[in-house]
């Protein structure tokens, strides 16, 4: 199927704009519709993304690497016992399972400043790819804080961090979670930061979100810079969420020609 020679497909002369974005631009058209190639490309990406939702998380490698870094970690489960239940019952993904809770309660209560939670969310691929490299950058920045064990949660939703932060009496709660897979980014990681997170009390308005951490999105360094800004400000203001604005400057306005806006400059 060579559409470049196909007289019925009208290609777009602005396809050099593809260098600026992963978006599906300059697709051309057959009549006013998607040409066959673009249409099947889409179906392929959709098939990959749908399959990505269902790949189960495997925390063993992350756990091993954390222990090599001298960090304790725990694997926790939520009340969403399987993937199908997890997809249809987000409430269960926000509550620790009875067994996990009993386990936690048996451990010696320790008082901490911060807890890091890693949850599979809707893309186990995101966590497999990005959690460890990000934690390698983050952990040295937190050396002044008393950290709880890193909590690795299967079938977890963002708010699962609240219950965990409460258990460890942690002031800062940092949740790394797999975001819903997109066609072009099946492995996007999100980061949620909550100050004084408490189960059943914290609302989404009290969280700050840094999303789109993946190879074509926000870099680890950029995400870290934003997070450290949020932590510093939250410590001053004693809050997080909509009243804590991320006022960091992205490194996107540099002089690299990639960022020249051709429509205006």
């Amino acid at each position: 199927m060579s559409e470049s020679n196909d007289a019925t497909v009208i290609s777009n002369s602005w396809d050099n704009l593809k260098q600026f974005t992963p978006a599906r631009i300059a697709l051309g058209r057959a009549g006013i519709s998607l040409p066959t190639r673009a249409s099947l490309d889409f179906q392929l990406a959709h098939a990959l993304a749908r399959d990505a939702v269902n790949i189960p998380i495997d925390f063993s490698e992350l756990q091993l690497n954390l222990s090599l870094m001298g960090l304790e970690s725990l694997t926790l489960n939520t009340q969403a016992e399987n993937q199908q239940l997890y997809l249809q019952r987000p409430d269960l993904g926000r509550i620790l399972s009875d067994a996990t809770l009993a386990c936690l309660q048996q451990t010696e209560p320790i008082s901490t400043d911060a807890v890091i939670v890693v949850a599979d969310g809707l893309s186990s691929k995101a966590i497999q790819h990005h959690a460890l490299p990000f934690l390698r950058l983050l952990l040295p920045q937190l050396h002044d804080y008393r950290l709880a064990p890193v909590c690795l949660v299967k079938h977890g939703r963002v708010a699962i961090g609240d219950a965990i932060a409460e258990h460890y009496a942690a002031r800062l709660c940092i949740v790394l979670i797999g975001e819903r897979p997109g066609l072009s980014s099946p492995d996007s990681m999100g980061l949620y930061f909550t100050y004084q997170a408490r189960a059943k009390l914290s609302t989404d308005a009290e969280r700050n979100c840094i999303s789109n951490i993946h190879s074509n999105g926000l870099s680890y360094e950029q995400a870290l810079k934003k997070l450290m800004f949020l932590i510093t400000e939250a410590e001053k203001l004693k809050l997080s969420g909509v009243n804590l604005k991320d006022e960091t400057t992205d490194a996107l306005t540099d002089d690299s020609p990639k960022y020249v806006n051709f429509l205006l400059d």
């Binding site: 009208i10 290609s11 600026f20 978006a23 673009a38 019952r89 909509v242 429509l263």
Partner: protein, 462 residues
């Protein structure tokens, strides 16, 4: 207590709220909330009972207590009893018949809009089939203006949504130009910023403003940041056309979004003061979606569709240019599959239009929902038949920032072609003057780039 007998069984529904929830067509979010009918028969029993409820009852029995919910207070306090008079004698079942009848002309429907409460409209939608929702919505006409006119008969507008994973200006510009060259962008050029960051918001606002000014595009811009971020941007002198906010149907849900009616009012007044609309001053852009209140654990025992329609009372107060139900974005725990998404999209559009809102729909789904492009084609076509005001336009249906699939530039061309729909008149003229469309609103055969944009592209080389 609401009672009915069906198939030799008697059913009691304790409250109107309970009755409404049980009468709702099946969807996963209501099961999640524990408010759905237990089986098909209970659902139909509830629909029979609901059909017998006088519309007046909705003014007597608040579904969320007046004392603790400012949206209930808004609905009750601003109800227009004069507009209501023409239908005040009807039950919900009669009201369906009346809406479908010849009596209910476009003019009459417009005249009763302020007399309807969200709950009355939600109730009647629950006993309407898809074709009823389409037929009545088609009779409603809601037009709004900022720099062009949205919602005229046989017109379908598009929001050009040039999102980029890191808000990179060149990346945004690439999708923006692609969209314009496919004839999209008359509802708004609206960017979801990757983070709710004031500086990024300011940069995008200035960029969109410069593009619209330089190329003299008769449309408006919006950066979909939180209303408090937009207020800060306005305070710093940013060129804000439309103020965006996600809204929900209970005070508690809006609390969780960090908003309330006062804040929205403050934002609208701040935008009005800028006086940037040339044809009109509808300067708000709201987004909603079934399930948002439940996801904030703030549904107050309501079914998700009734919650959704209550959000339209919030929207209506602020005379928006656009209201967008982002129907399939929320995920399968609220709308499980294509069937549920399609039904919800048609309900939202009908309810919004009947209440007098400029209703559009983000015809969309996520990769964890049981839905695909065929389902979206179905919803898109049905909504366009129903006279939907606008849809999204996203390159190749793939939003590379929000990670979901919506309608593409091609989809808009498809539905305009099969149904003979046109863009907003001011934008249509611009497209024709530039030579993007010919006089019959068809893309030019040779895919030539208009002279106006050629220079920009030539700078890039090949």
């Amino acid at each position: 207590m609401y009672k009915t007998h069906v198939a030799h069984l008697s059913y009691d529904f304790k409250t109107l709220r309970n009755l409404m929830a049980k009468a709702t067509p099946s969807r996963s979010g209501d099961y999640l909330a524990g408010v759905a009918a237990a089986n098909h028969l209970e659902r139909v029993a509830a629909q029979w009972a609901l059909a017998e409820v006088p519309l007046k009852q909705f003014l007597n029995e608040a579904l969320v207590p007046y004392e603790h919910d400012e949206i209930t207070r808004l609905i009750m306090d601003e109800h227009d009893s004069i507009a209501f008079a023409a239908i005040s004698h009807l039950t919900v079942g009669d009201f369906r018949n009346w809406l479908l009848s010849e009596q209910a002309t476009t003019e009459v429907l417009t005249s009763i809009a302020q007399g309807l409460t969200p709950e009355m409209v939600a109730a009647v939608s629950k006993i309407m089939r898809s074709q009823d929702l389409i037929l009545v919505a088609k009779k409603c006409r809601v037009t709004t203006q900022f720099r062009n006119t949205i919602g005229l008969e046989n017109r379908l507008s598009t929001r050009l949504q040039p999102n980029h994973p890191t808000d990179n200006p060149a990346g945004v510009a690439a999708s923006l130009l692609d969209g314009l060259l496919y004839g999209c962008g008359d509802a708004v050029i609206g960017i979801n910023p990757a983070s709710d960051n004031l500086e990024a918001t300011l940069r995008l606002l200035h960029m969109l403003n410069e593009v619209i000014e330089r190329y003299q595009i008769p449309t408006q811009s919006c950066v979909l940041a939180h209303v408090t971020t937009t207020l800060k941007a306005i305070a710093q002198g940013a060129p804000v056309d439309l103020v965006f906010q996600s809204i929900a149907g209970t005070q508690k849900a809006n609390d969780s979004f960090g908003i309330n009616l006062n804040l929205l009012n403050e934002a609208r007044l701040a935008a009005l003061e800028l006086g940037r609309g040339t044809l009109g001053n509808n300067c708000m852009y709201f987004e909603t979606g079934q399930g948002s209140a439940l996801s904030a654990n703030a549904h107050e025992g309501l079914d998700q569709q009734t919650c959704e329609v209550r959000a339209y009372a919030v929207a209506r107060k602020f005379k928006p240019l656009l209201v967008n139900t982002v129907v399939g974005f929320i995920g399968p725990e609220y709308l499980y599959d294509g069937k549920q998404i399609i039904r919800a999209g048609l309900e939202d559009h009908f309810c919004g239009k009947l209440l007098g809102l400029p209703m559009g729909c983000d015809v969309c789904y996520t990769n964890h929902a049981q839905a695909d492009q065929d389902d979206m084609d179905g919803l898109l076509t049905q909504l366009a038949v129903a006279g939907n005001s606008f849809i999204m336009g996203i390159p190749g249906s793939d939003d590379v920032m929000l990670n979901y699939q919506s309608t593409s530039f091609h989809d808009a061309l498809y539905v305009r072609q099969v149904l003979g729909l046109r863009p907003a008149p001011e934008f249509e003229r611009w497209l024709q003057e530039l030579g993007i469309f010919n006089a019959d609103n068809q893309l030019l055969q040779k895919a030539e780039v208009p002279a106006l944009f050629k220079a920009s592209l030539q700078k890039l080389g090949r």
